[in-house]
């Protein structure tokens, strides 16, 4: 029967079933087997006893029959037992083996009588049993002797010693034997019945336990199934499901958790749905708006297209006007158009000159030169269009005469150019008559276009001229800029200024330059650099300073900080001339001369002089402006150069001072070490009792002496290290090292200090740290410093060293439970000679150099030191160094 819930082995229920049933079955089978075996043993032994009894009694009962060899007698004694269903056969043999009588239902199946030998028989005093097969069935054959005894007297029996009773061959004699075969069929039958019973019991137990397990597993799995079903439903989105929580066991709790989860999910999904709805609404609103906007945009587009067409029409009309900036050509075209439109014979565009109060022609069409000449200067400037239908009646005689001479009979004049109209369009016709309104309108439009053209041309001219000016200015500025940047170049100042001045001559339109700087005592002007002078003149100027008091115009410009310009019409006054020997030198005398002060950082450094002696060009205002700009650049350059010089000098002095200081410190360190060696050496020798026994009191004092001496040595070493760092003489000697060893060594050396203060010293160093490359001694110095500080400043608790590897770095932290460091001091403690306060220095000792040195060492390794601290709880000093510091890596 295929039971549904046993499908597969994967269900929980099946697992329970298959794990329990084999155990029960095995137990039952084992028990049945044992029971059957025991039972069979009991029955068989009972059977054997019975057989032995039967054989023995038959043996006794047959004594007479055998002696008499009376078959009938024997058969009657046999018949007493063959009725027993278990008896298969009975044989009574005479002593010599002859069969005296037989009986039993299986006499024929009895195996060939195994006649006991005479020897056996003589010793056979009791019944023996042996297994045989009777008709392929198990059986037992009992062999009993038939003994004849001569009756002894009771006295004899009594006189016989025990154990010899019946032993005398004269009294006992075996006269024959009996073979009794018992079939075990009934035993087998019995056992078979028992086995059937066990099968039945097993089946019943099996059935009962199956049902029990089924019910039990059902009880266990039902809530799980329910949970599963609910969880599936939740997964399918039916979040309203709640799982009935009946029990308070794990499954019950799981159910409750599922409920909570489903609740949270439902809220979440509800929220999402709400947001989604809102988004959809928003989307719809947006779509509506977009539709609306699209419609609006379409309307506008239509409106725009209309406008565009209008604009295009206008543009087409004015295109010819704006396409050309040649005003004459444009106006000639206009005039030709005007003739065509007005059906006239000639046309001219005239400009009114308000100064001369007369017209002159700008452009014309079909007008001959003679007419124009005659018309030139005619005073005709109306504010509105005017026409003369018959020139013979024209009020102006001059116009009338020349027009009639040229054959014209009618005239139309349209002024244009707004209120202060200066232009007019004049159309002439050989036929007299009035010009129609339409013609006047068309000509007015043409006049307006001409106005645009004229305005365009004017603007273009203005723009063009401005552009040219700008280009010129820009070129000049660029040149000046290049000159100024040249001043920053690191050449000798004199050469530089000379080159710059030379290059500047063309730009600022100056023949000769000189830069004069005032001496520091403000007494004299020295010629620093020049351009354009003959070599001999330059040499003379540069070798002889001019006393400032006698420097004339240069002194004035220097004193007042303003530029002075002298030209031919504005000559240098006599009192501002240089005295002899300079003024007497013809090369220096000129009447076209500028002197500009050179001011930088509010200080006048000297003057820039320039002249146009050679070219005799006047000094222009533009030139003066540029010279002033140039002078200020030059002043800045000179000032910078002087500053650099000063800084350079200071730097050299500082370097020298620093070198002296380092040398001094090294020497001092040496000089201090020598006596210190004696102090520490003697102290140690005394303490080691080299000079005999030392009283305890002195020992204690010597201990202080030793500590103080070592402290002093520490100070000297720190100062020396620091001086080496400052002098750049501090270098790393790189080699492979084990960070574990470094930590261990340092920890060992500070262990006594920690123990003395009752602090726990803990190391957290992994075993598998990689081998590092760096300056082992210096890194140990860093750790010693940090660890020493931590122990020094911690009164109770512990100090811990932690080493970790990060990406290509060791990260070593020293954590203490000391007082902590206020945030404002955290950076300062790395400075030289810094502890948190002076009192702590006195209390705790130390130079305050250790951290500075430690930080420097770590930085030289390419690492960093950091401190983190919580006031009252402790501090953590951490340094990271690259695991492998390369040889050309960071150094001092």
């Amino acid at each position: 029967v295929k039971i549904r819930w046993l499908r597969g082995f994967s269900t929980f229920r099946a697992k329970i079933f298959w794990s329990v049933i084999p155990v029960i079955l095995a137990l039952l089978i084992f028990h049945a087997f044992m029971d059957l075996r025991e039972h069979r043993r009991l029955v068989e032994s009972e059977f054997t006893k019975r057989g032995l009894g039967m054989a023995a009694s038959l043996g006794q009962g047959s004594e007479l029959g055998v002696l008499a060899e009376n078959r009938g007698l024997l058969e009657s004694s046999i018949s007493g037992i063959v009725g027993d269903p278990d008896v298969a056969y009975v044989f009574i043999h005479a002593d010599d083996g002859r069969v005296l009588a037989t009986g039993g239902k299986a006499v024929d199946d009895a195996v060939a009588p195994a006649i006991p030998t005479a020897g056996d028989r003589s010793t056979m005093t009791r019944v023996v049993a042996r297994p045989v097969r009777i008709k392929d069935q198990k059986g037992i054959e009992f062999l009993a002797p038939i003994v004849s005894e001569s009756v002894a007297t009771p006295d004899e029996l009594l006189l016989q010693p025990p154990g010899k009773a019946g032993g005398g061959p004269t009294q006992r004699r075996t006269i024959g034997f009996i073979r009794l075969g018992l079939s075990l069929e009934s035993v087998e039958h019995h056992v078979l019945g028992l086995a059937r019973l066990w099968v039945g019991i097993t089946a019943v137990f099996f059935g009962i336990s199956s049902v029990t397990i089924y019910l039990f597993s059902n009880r266990i799995t039902r809530p799980i199934k329910q949970l599963t079903a609910h969880a599936q439903k939740i997964a399918e989105g039916e979040l309203e499901q709640t799982i009935p929580v009946r029990s308070r066991d794990e499954i019950g709790r799981l159910g409750a958790t599922f409920n909570t989860m489903a609740g949270a999910l439902k809220e979440n999904i509800d929220e999402k749905e709400r947001v989604l709805r809102e988004l959809q609404e928003l989307n719809q609103t947006l779509e509506k708006r977009i539709h609306q906007r699209t419609a609006e945009l379409e309307e506008r587009t239509v409106a725009l297209e209309d406008s565009l067409q209008e604009v295009q029409t206008l543009a087409e009309i004015s295109r010819t006007v704006s396409s050309s900036l040649d005003l004459r050509q444009v106006l000639t075209t206009v005039a030709a158009h005007a003739v065509g439109r007005a059906s006239a014979d000639a046309c001219g565009v005239f400009e009114f000159d308000p100064d001369r109060r007369a017209f002159h022609v700008v452009a014309s069409h079909d007008l001959d030169g003679r007419f124009l000449e005659e018309l030139e200067g005619t005073d005709l400037q109306p504010a509105a269009p005017v026409q003369i239908p018959e020139l013979r009646n024209a009020p102006d005689a001059r116009l009338r005469d020349c027009a009639l001479r040229a054959g014209f009979r009618a005239l139309l004049l349209v002024p244009f150019g707004g209120a202060d109209a200066r232009h007019s369009l004049v159309v002439l016709r050989r036929r007299p008559g009035t010009f129609s309104e339409r013609v006047v309108g068309v000509l007015t439009a043409l006049a307006d276009q001409s106005k645009v053209a004229i305005e365009n041309a004017r603007l273009f001219r203005a723009v063009e001229s401005q552009r040219l000016q700008l280009e010129q200015l820009s070129a000049n500025l660029e040149h000046l800029y290049r000159l100024s940047t040249a001043l920053q170049e690191p050449l000798s100042l004199r050469d530089q200024l000379g080159r710059v001045l030379d290059a500047a001559r063309d730009v600022v339109r100056i023949d000769r330059f000189y830069i004069w700087v005032v001496t520091p005592d403000s007494e004299q002007l020295i010629a620093l650099a020049g351009a354009g002078f003959a070599a001999e003149d330059a040499r003379r100027l540069e070798t002889v300073p001019i006393p400032l008091a006698e420097a004339g115009a240069m002194r004035l410009a220097f004193r007042d900080g303003v530029a002075l310009v002298f030209n031919e019409g504005n000559p240098l006054p006599a009192e501002l001339r240089l005295p002899d020997p300079w003024s007497s030198r013809p090369a220096l005398r000129t009447s076209r001369f500028v002197v500009t002060p050179m001011i930088a950082r509010g200080r006048t450094l000297g003057v820039l002089t320039a002249d146009n002696k050679g070219s005799r060009r006047p000094i222009e205002a533009r030139t003066v402006n540029m010279l002033q700009i140039f002078a200020s650049h030059a002043a800045v350059a000179i000032d910078n150069a002087r500053l650099f010089q000063e800084i350079d000098d200071k730097g050299r002095q500082l370097e020298l001072a620093s070198l002296h200081k380092s040398q001094f410190l090294a020497n001092m360190s040496h000089e201090l070490r020598t006596p210190l060696n004696a102090i520490l050496g003697y102290t140690e020798l005394i303490l080691d009792r080299i000079y005999g026994e030392v009283p305890e009191a002195i020992r204690e004092v010597l201990g202080h002496l030793d500590r103080s001496g070592r402290h002093l040595l520490g100070l000297i070493n720190d100062v020396l290290d620091l001086s080496k760092i400052e002098a750049g003489a501090f270098t790393l000697s790189l080699a492979e090292y084990s960070m574990q060893d470094v930590v261990q060594t340092v920890a060992t050396s500070v262990e006594p200090l920690a123990a003395e203060k009752g602090l726990r010293l803990k190391l957290d160093v992994p075993d598998d740290l990689p081998i590092g490359r760096g300056d082992e001694r210096r890194l140990a110095q860093v750790l010693l410093n940090l660890l020493g500080n931590a122990i020094k400043f911690t009164e109770a608790g512990e100090v811990r060293v932690t080493v970790r590897t990060e990406v290509r770095s060791f990260r070593v932290s020293v954590v203490d439970t000391g007082p902590g460091i206020p945030p404002e001091h955290r950076e300062r403690i790395f400075g030289e000679f810094q502890q948190i306060d002076a009192s702590s220095t006195r209390k705790k000792g130390g130079t305050g150099l250790g951290l500075t040195i430690a930080r420097r060492i770590v930085e030289m390794h390419g690492g960093r030191v950091a401190v983190d601290s919580v006031l009252g709880l402790g501090s953590t000093f951490t340094f990271t160094v690259p695991i492998l510091v390369s040889g050309d890596g960071p150094r001092a």
Binding site: A666, A678, G681, F730
Partner: protein, 123 residues
């Protein structure tokens, strides 16, 4: 024959410390005040070990060491440089001159003794 140690040192105090230290453990101490004297006494007495101060007047410790090591008969004698210059590179100079070990002042007599024994043992 007791172990003989040559001390080349110009400072009386330091000489006395070494004398007292080495004498206390039964070493025989020969003293030289200058480099020249140190070289001469090394040749005369053939000590088992030499303690060589570096900053000596006249012939300095490096040079004295070089001269002693230049003599094949004296070359196996271990020389421990004792210097108060703790600048990096001094140790290199000392080893370059032929010193077998390097100790900076101030030294711990105990540690120095340990170092001396170490060099006597490996001689």
């Amino acid at each position: 024959m007791s172990t003989r140690i040559l001390v080349v040192e110009d400072q009386e105090d330091n000489r006395r410390i070494l004398r007292d230290l080495l004498g206390s453990v039964g070493f025989e101490v020969i003293e030289a005040v200058t480099g020249q004297e140190g070289v001469r006494l090394a040749e005369v007495h053939r000590p088992d070990l030499i303690l060589m101060d570096i900053q000596l007047p006249g012939l300095d410790g490096y040079e004295a060491t070089r001269r002693i090591k230049a003599n094949p008969a004296l070359r196996p004698i271990p020389i421990i440089a004792v210097t108060s210059y703790a600048l990096s590179g001094d140790d290199v100079k000392a080893f370059a001159a032929g010193c077998d070990a390097y100790v900076t002042k101030p030294f711990s007599p105990r540690a120095l003794l340990a170092k001396i024994r170490e060099h006597l043992a490996t001689r």
